[in-house]
């Protein structure tokens, strides 16, 4: 059986890229295997853990639930694209300083989801943070330090935008 | 003389005796002596136990040197998560 592959063109982390993928390939697999962007992880493959979270046109999505060709023409941001060059995003910095990661497998997904939240809601309550991150599972931290780090990043981002 | 403290499931070899005085300058020597007196017990202590001496649990304690008045507690080996 010959497998035909579709040519997909999109923007990933600010760069225009193209790749070939079978239509039944998930966007997550395409990012990891075709583009070598292994920051997004597969924890479940069913949209229940959020480790594969990416931004698609500014919105957080589980890349494991998307067919690769759906990315055509879209603007995608993965964890690899959150920092500005050497300058970490405030979320990345507060996650480091706040010990918001232990094993680190869920971290890329949390950073992307938290960025989506703060992009839309710069001053979320603790409850809003917890619900916004409910699609991301972490088994190491009990979420405490993640939530606190998002709170701290929100403070910093609000200060920076003032 | 060192005293060997046995867990309950060791005691079926010793007619229920829980504490037994045994000569020996290492845990291994104590086990060998216990095997002499209670055939079968030695294998169980060698393969199924750690030894607690002076409040410290030792895995594979055969060559651990002990004092003349040591209390040697044979305890189940631990693994962790």
């Amino acid at each position: 059986m010959k497998r035909s592959r579709t040519h997909v063109t999109c923007t990933v982390n600010g760069d225009e890229v193209d790749f070939l993928a079978s239509d039944d390939t998930s966007l997550l697999d395409a990012l990891r295997d075709e583009l070598g962007l292994t920051g997004a992880k597969e924890g479940c493959g069913t949209g229940d853990c959020g480790a594969c979270s990416i931004l698609v046109d500014g919105r957080v999505n589980c890349s494991c639930l998307m067919f690769a060709p759906e990315a055509e023409g879209s603007d995608i941001v993965t964890v690899e694209g959150i920092a500005q060059g050497d300058q970490l995003h405030p979320l990345q910095q507060t996650f480091l300083e706040g010990a918001a990661l232990q094993c680190g497998i869920c971290t890329p997904g949390f950073l992307v989801s938290a960025k989506a939240l703060l992009d839309e809601n710069p001053d979320p309550t603790e409850t809003e943070i917890r619900y916004a991150l409910a699609g991301n599972l972490c088994r190491c931290t009990g979420y405490d330090k993640i939530v606190r780090s998002v709170q701290e990043a929100a403070v910093q981002l609000r200060g920076a935008s003032r | 003389m060192p005293r060997a403290h046995l867990m309950s499931d060791h005691r079926r070899f010793t007619d229920g005796e829980a504490v037994i005085e045994v000569e020996g300058v290492t845990v291994g020597a104590v086990i060998a002596e216990l095997e002499q007196r209670y055939p079968g017990l030695g294998e169980m202590l060698t393969n199924g136990s750690s030894a607690g001496v002076d409040g410290v649990i030792h895995a594979e304690p055969e060559y651990l040197a002990i004092g003349p008045d040591a209390d040697v507690y044979f305890v189940a080996p631990l693994t962790g998560g």
């Binding site: 698609v56 999505n61 589980c62 | -």
Partner: protein, 295 residues
Amino acid sequence: MKGRQMRYAAPATVDEARTLLSDNPGSQVFAGATDLVPQIRAGRPSPSMVVDLKRIDRLTAVIHEGGKWPIGAATPSADLTRNADFTAMFPGLSEAAGLIGSDQIQNRSSLGGNLANASPAADSVPALIANAGQAVIASGDGTRTVPAADIATGPGRTSLADGEFIIEFTLDDPPAGTGDAYLRMIPRTEMDIAIAGAAVRVTIADGTVSDATVALGAVAPTVVVVSDAEAALVGATLDGGRFDDATLDAVAAAASAACDPINDKRGTVAYRRQVAGVLAKRAAIVAAERAQNGA
């Protein structure tokens, strides 16, 4: 899986979608694919082609005109929850859409998919039915319109014929003094499938309920509209803005009695029955508050 490779197509118009479906036996439409992708992974019979409806403008539009709300069937749930006008008018349906999984899921999942998937536990369906939603279906070369309540016929089964797909839903502006609410029971606070759900819509005039709809999810093969609970509400008067206990007990009892649930890994028959009553009662309280607050 064997010997056949699934293809993906993204038509720009409804007509293109119709053609793709008729030209490709074994094809199927999708919007969010939040259930479809896991099903394909699990090795269940996979479609020959998946037809992505999200690139059809009309199918992702939320419009309010002439007292009606046409809502594209492939509109992500998040577009409904973020739409302030929609949420002000249909707070219960909006909150139901906001309960379909995580933010990640809500950026993909749609009312059309939630309904056409025909899961008895679909969160948006009871509220859609409570608001008398109509479904516009692409059928043959034209369209047909049916009540949303008529789409699902059993778990995983619908009244949609081969080649048919839902284009949009229409809702009428609710009458003045109307409020709706949707509550569901899940073991966690998020990320679960409803064990039971209840949508209630009431219209209140001069302190008396003039109209009511009560629809339950996850307690029967399809959504259950509880006419006995509705009857208990219609004519009920509110004292200090609240229903009396007798009314609420009647609503709860009627809702519990209307259930035809199953035992499964998520809940028992007894639990579903009991909690459906609790949820119906609580949703009625919230709906009445909203009706009186001009929500």
